[in-house]
Symmetry: C2
Subunit: 457 residues, 2 copies
Amino acid sequence: MKNLSAVLQEVLRKIKPSYDECNELKQVIAQVMNSVKQSVKRRELDVDVILIGSAARNTWIAGDRDIDIFIGFDPRVPRTDLEYFGIEIGKEVAGDSYVIQYAEHPYVKAKISGFIFDIVPYYRVDVASRSISAVDRTPFHQQFVTANLNNKEDEVRLLKQFLKGVGVYGAELKIRGFSGYLCELLIIKYGSFLQLLNDAADWKRRKCISFVNNEIAPKFDNPLIVIDPVDPKRNVAAAVSTESFFNFIDSAREFLSKPCIEFFFPPPIKAINAKRLKDILTKRGTNIYAFSFKMPELVEDIAYPQLEKSIKSICKALSRIEFQPIRTDIYYRKGNAVLLLEFLVCSLPPLYRHVGPPVECKEHAQKFKDKYINDPAVFSGPYIQESRYIVEIPRKYLTVEAFMQKQLKNLKLSEAVYTSMKSGCNILCNEDLLKIEDQNYREFLANYFQRRKRTCE
Amino acid sequence: MKNLSAVLQEVLRKIKPSYDECNELKQVIAQVMNSVKQSVKRRELDVDVILIGSAARNTWIAGDRDIDIFIGFDPRVPRTDLEYFGIEIGKEVAGDSYVIQYAEHPYVKAKISGFIFDIVPYYRVDVASRSISAVDRTPFHQQFVTANLNNKEDEVRLLKQFLKGVGVYGAELKIRGFSGYLCELLIIKYGSFLQLLNDAADWKRRKCISFVNNEIAPKFDNPLIVIDPVDPKRNVAAAVSTESFFNFIDSAREFLSKPCIEFFFPPPIKAINAKRLKDILTKRGTNIYAFSFKMPELVEDIAYPQLEKSIKSICKALSRIEFQPIRTDIYYRKGNAVLLLEFLVCSLPPLYRHVGPPVECKEHAQKFKDKYINDPAVFSGPYIQESRYIVEIPRKYLTVEAFMQKQLKNLKLSEAVYTSMKSGCNILCNEDLLKIEDQNYREFLANYFQRRKRTCE
């Protein structure tokens, strides 16, 4: 077992930006800030131009190339003007290489000298709680972190890299993990990466962290609650899912008992090949289906919730007819979507045990019996078990495939997923899973079958 | 649809004892009562000799041959004396053809002139609530019924025959239905068979019937509560199971909407043969196991609860490893026992999804991970799903049969069932079910597959 502080030092050597990288960043930022200011001046606008985020707070990780520049408008400026000028300035600064992205309002994402700049307009409100849109709160976050971080930038970097390594860094919907701002707040609260981990090892669901003594927390229904010091109505950890929360706790415990660098830099996943897949399938003996289809090229934060909703509906419908998936997963990349479902049993005998109404409900009872009492297809019943009618009838769908082929339109899928699946969905099973030739998908599959916590040998 | 009163008249013609039958009964009873009294006199005992039950109350059904004679002792007589003299008198009256039966205390069952006599000793207590044993209450029941039945004997007969026909007559543990005394009380309460049925059609669980206004019922936890008019601490319907209760309600509704004689006299069940069984099995496609074994020749009231407890344990253990029976049944007759279990799935793939402790329970979590983290047999995991650890490991039993063969000793079977199954249990499946050559068992099987409510064409 390596010495704990030696491990952390090794990690810091890898993630702390070098003197040269810092200089390069500073220069590029100075140059872009200058362009923005020029562009503002030309339009004679009364706005603030500020550098935001990890670059401004010196908590970015070596190699990260994302920089946020915020343009602050007076709250009395109409929203249309804010959006118009925000985009115009962004485009002017970006030159040729930019895209317009849509969050609460549109902003410009531009690649400049190898760095990614988000140029985002916002309203300069008096206090964070009066924010008009979500980004209006960001400058207040920046203020709070700058005032309170106390030279703990490296601790933030360790935490971010640790969360990346164990797969729970980022508030995006694919991850549902810890945002950068949340990392900074946790370090401000606990003083260091290790002190945080020590505490987290004993966290229970609904762990609540606040920066004001005796603060009465609003009733947040999240596994982790971190009350925003600049706006107590908001839970900074609202995005953290139950699984991410517990993965963090579990990883904290494991790292503290066996510290090693693999927590921060897990070995890369090897894409699965046909031989390995066959091996795995033989051992497991289960049936794995991949529903593969082409979606519009939505950003992940739009695509994932739709795919999640859809796979939930599919599972619910299949469970109702006794095909209960034992595990599912979602693959999505640039419009290519795969819903993965694994079953112990994917084909059942013709008999379906249909549970009817309670005998006590006289009217429902009558309807149920009228329906089945003279139905020649009935195997047995209706009879009474405990307090309900039961009838044994022919099963409508003997296999998962038969159900999916016929019932697609009746599942509660999201609009985009339904349209996409309808216009062409490949149902692949077991060894056919590899008919999708996409390296990222094969890595996803390898990860699905592994799901083993890294250990240090 | 036949006229309701015509149906009832037809039934009464069949079940009301004829003048000749009444006369024969009276003569035999007089003769046996006389023998008992002689026997008592010879011993110079201070006891009452009374005729009890449906014969005394004129509520017996034509062809019924069971008669109870009770011998009442002073409560100060020691129990051993009561038992000794009870048996001695019974034996003397019976002659050669008798058996000694065991309820709360032993009594003599004797066949005399083609009738079955139970000769039962009891204590003449002052009030029913001071009863020393359960039979001491019986003379009070007799008193209450005689005083209140008001010439409604035929209504009682109709009710008894109806309950027989729909399979819920008798408080014995095989049936868990309505006792004769309960039938009499229900007629006293409702005035007639039809008025009872009309009311029962709307009964809800925990239906409570009392013979005293504003009686505060003790908290009985039964579907039907009929407070004993001679002892309010007792629920006369305590034996009625949820299924019997609802079967009665359902039958009442059906009979009222389509009155026909089949409710009282259902067509006899035809024993199943090989061809029919094969047909049924092909249609259902399920897997049916019969665990067949020889038990000591216990009376049904002793055997059934043991078999029920055992089949419940088996179901619970099988469900835990994902072999969930869809239906079960019990056959028992003269020591021959069969536990019947039907499955949609009786063989599963090697993968078993083992759900571990919640992440929050730090110690259990550590133990769980220590156990599995380096186990080479593990397929996937341990990983976290929602708030718990999951590990995918090899399944210990791939089939129902393999489990039953290995795990018999670890199931919570009753002692007698365990010993019997251990010393020789045939596991028969599907078409082999008919390897048991017993007509009653084949009728039981036919009934299992039918379970269709009788309808009148």
